[in-house]
């Protein structure tokens, strides 16, 4: 008896010593030179590498004597990117700036990693241009407890993509921005067909991404007048009436045979191009896949109005980290990413458009004028300027976990394995635990 207690104690003590040894090593290392910057970015392919290299070169040229080192970070989605960013920081490497999306702001802020830019915005005379030329909703998506944490340099909002050829073939008029959920369902139904007469549907009216929240359920939740989190992102509201209404609406589309089971985005692109799906939701990025492939039979429209209309938009930008040696220089870099030159390069061309929308209104307006499809591309900026945006931005500090939790339950619901109510009730329990940390 006594011996067991003693040996357990010994194990615990050894463990504690080992653990202390593990903690005590401190980490350090950063670019010590005040004229150099280390910028971490999401390296999702050649486009990201070239874009960031151009950014770094441009900044060095505009600020002689400075050097910009790029730290590429891999990741197949935002969750993977933040995981890698966190492991990078945990291994003691501390960049001055990091590329981030609205989704990651609270993660960075809650871990005290990001420098708010309020003072710069108030004191730097150049900042006024940005405040006037960037939609407030985009700045707000980078907000944390009243602070603005970064200037967005590109963004995306969720719109409906529709295949114009299929509309033409069905003799349907192209949708208007004031269409309602009922109109949408009727349209989608008219576009659902068994084209070869073998008894199974081979052209669906609508589908959405099963592996993402933003081009998935969120626009519907927003237009039902709800959100997945409460007003200060301190708890989940996943089984609130608007969420139930939105998810029920989508679930009905599946049970009525108008929509197939949600699939990953890549399948959706392929099916949309192949005419197997007439409509789906996404930001600007699908057109960056379609146009280089020569596919132009599409246009965009706002999501249909439910009880209300709220734009779902998320931004991306370069946030200044608390580890920055020279925050002022980092601020200069951040401003540079929103400068007209750099913003212009975010437009792209008609056969190789960029995958996000420039955050300067004046630049974004040039996109359609440059002849870059979709024809209704002005909708992108209009939707944040002329309509209210979903607030708060639904992204708690533990974003990756939040995202995987939401997807875990919506997958079950849309696979028909749990009822909408049961699924959302369980989701609420789990999501609440993720957000509150209890």
């Amino acid at each position: 008896m006594k011996r067991t207690t003693r040996s357990i104690a010994a194990v615990v003590v050894t463990a504690a010593i080992a653990a202390t040894a593990l903690t005590s090593c401190s980490s350090g290392g950063s670019s010590s030179d005040t004229k150099s910057l280390n910028v971490a970015y999401w390296d999702y392919g050649k486009g990201a590498e070239d874009g960031n290299q151009a950014l770094a070169d441009g900044f060095e040229k505009a600020n002689p004597g400075t050097t910009v080192t790029l730290t590429p970070i891999a990741g197949d989605n935002w969750g993977g990117y933040y995981a890698n960013l966190a492991t990078l920081i945990a291994s003691g490497k501390k960049p001055d700036l990091t590329f981030t999306a609205s989704e990651g702001i609270k993660f960075l802020a809650a871990n005290n990693l990001v420098v708010p830019i309020n003072d710069y915005l108030n004191n730097d005379p150049a900042a006024k241009t940005f405040k006037d030329d960037i939609a407030p909703a985009l700045l707000q998506s980078f907000g944390y407890k009243g602070d603005i944490t970064a200037l967005p340099n590109g963004w995306n909002d969720m719109v409906i993509y529709y295949n114009t050829k299929l509309f033409d073939a069905a003799g349907l008029p192209y949708p208007k921005s004031d269409w309602t959920w009922d109109d949408f369902k009727a349209t989608a139904k008219a576009l659902t067909k068994d084209t070869n007469g073998d008894g199974t549907t081979d052209q669906y009216g609508f589908t959405w991404a099963g592996n993402e929240i933003f081009p998935g359920i969120l626009p519907w939740v927003a237009n039902a007048g709800g959100n997945l989190v409460n007003s200060d992102v301190s708890d989940a509201t996943a089984n609130s009436a608007p969420v139930v209404k939105a998810v029920t609406y989508l679930e009905d589309l599946i049970t009525e045979g108008i929509a197939p089971a949600p699939a990953p985005m890549s399948d959706i692109f392929t099916r949309f191009e192949g005419g197997q799906v007439a409509m789906f939701g996404g930001g600007r990025w699908p057109s960056a896949t379609f146009l280089p492939a020569g596919f132009t039979d599409f246009d965009v429209q706002l999501y249909p109005t439910g009880d209300t209309y709220q734009t779902v938009a998320g931004a991306a930008g370069y946030a200044i980290l608390t580890s920055a040696v020279n925050p002022d220089l980092a601020w200069e870099f951040q401003k540079y990413t929103v400068s007209a030159d750099i913003q212009d390069s975010e437009i792209g061309t008609a056969t190789a458009p960029r995958d996000s929308i420039p955050s300067l209104r004046s630049t974004a307006e040039k996109t359609v004028a440059a002849g870059i499809p979709p024809k209704s591309g002005q909708l992108f900026y209009d939707s944040v300027d002329k309509y209210p945006a979903l607030t708060p931005f639904p992204a708690p500090a533990k974003y990756s976990e939040y995202e995987s939790t939401v997807l875990r339950y919506t997958q079950l619901i849309f696979a028909g394995e749990t009822s909408v109510k049961d699924g959302l009730d369980s989701l609420q329990t789990d999501l609440s635990a993720v957000i509150t940390g209890k």
Binding site: A15, G79, N211, A263
Partner: protein
């Protein structure tokens, strides 16, 4: 020589000493062996201390901490362990892991043996070579490549698998999106990749069975089934046992297939414990709890292996 190779390679792993004596019965330690042994063991011992023992102590130590990846840990005693018992997700993940592991094990052991036996029947050399090549090939291809291929093939509406199944009247199966089929998909894809190795090990085991025994059985008038179950299988039991142990440990480490095919979903239907550990540690940044879950996996493997060794003592024939 080969005959003895196979016979003497039989060690039971429990009591290595008795097998050391298989070649030369217990004998006094020669002077000098100790130092030589130390030198020969040094490379392993060093890497063992650094990369097995230290992390194992670390994982135990971490389990007493609440440790966010980005900030220092706080000692929380046994909180992580009490959390284990109230974590309904962990239960679900263990259930799916165990189910999938058993299925993977069964396919490797049973289908692997069947294919190995068929492969050892009389056939032209070149055809045997072709079959053996095909079966073993997926083993050398990376799991993520394999999973990516199958992610396309198993697509519900556009995948070839459902298209072909349609010819025999099977309705489109939601391989990757339904709780019932997602684990099946993970099992099939993992087994598809691993079974070739089991086949090869079986083939080696089958070939090591001495000819004389089989011929004697034929003379005695035993038919093919009798020969298989009374002679081949008992003589093959050490091979079976080896494959059971190795495949069990491997089947509990499955990670790439669910991650690429189904992301563990829907729900937790195809999530494995290793995936759960990875998510907890590197997506939720909860290093302490991830370590605690790691300890449970270690305990499961220890218990399973002990059971296997115990069972094998009764059924494994080391003639």
């Amino acid at each position: 020589m080969t005959n003895t190779t196979v016979r003497q390679a039989v060690g039971d792993g429990r009591k290595p000493a008795t097998h050391g004596g298989e070649i030369a019965p217990k004998r006094r330690t020669r002077p000098g062996d100790g130092w030589a042994a130390a030198a020969f063991l040094a490379p392993s011992a060093g890497s063992f201390l650094l990369f097995v023992l230290a992390p194992t102590i670390g994982v135990i130590a971490l389990s007493f901490y609440s440790w966010n990846l980005l900030s220092d840990g706080t000692f929380i005693g046994l909180d992580n362990f009490t959390r284990l018992f109230s974590d309904s997700r962990l239960v679900a993940v263990y259930r799916s892991t165990t189910t999938m592991a058993l299925a993977i094990l069964a396919i490797n052991i049973v289908i692997g043996l069947l294919l190995a036996v068929l492969l050892e029947t009389r056939m032209p050399r070149i055809i045997r070579g072709f079959f053996r090549l095909s079966f073993l090939f997926p083993f050398v291809v990376s799991s993520s490549a394999v999973a990516l291929i199958w992610r396309f093939l198993l697509n519900k509406d556009l995948g070839l698998v459902n298209y072909w199944l349609g010819f025999i009247g099977v309705d489109h199966i939601d391989w990757l999106g339904s709780s019932a089929w997602a684990p099946v998909a993970v099992v099939l894809v993992n087994s598809w990749k691993t079974v070739g190795f089991s086949i090869l090990v079986y083939v080696a085991g089958l070939q090591s069975i001495p000819n004389e025994i089989k011929e004697a059985a034929i003379v005695d008038g035993a038919n093919a089934w009798q020969r298989f179950f009374r002679i081949t299988l008992p003589l093959l039991s050490p091979t079976v046992f080896f494959l059971v142990v190795i495949n069990t440990i491997n089947a509990f480490q499955v990670f790439a297939e669910p991650r690429v095919l189904t992301q563990g979903g829907p729900g937790d239907a195809s999530r494995t414990v290793v995936e759960f550990i990875y998510d907890t540690a590197f997506q939720s940044f909860d290093l302490g709890y991830a370590s605690t879950v790691g300890i449970t996996l270690m305990l499961v493997l220890v218990v399973l292996t002990l059971i296997q060794f115990r069972v094998s003592r009764r059924f494994t024939f080391y003639g």
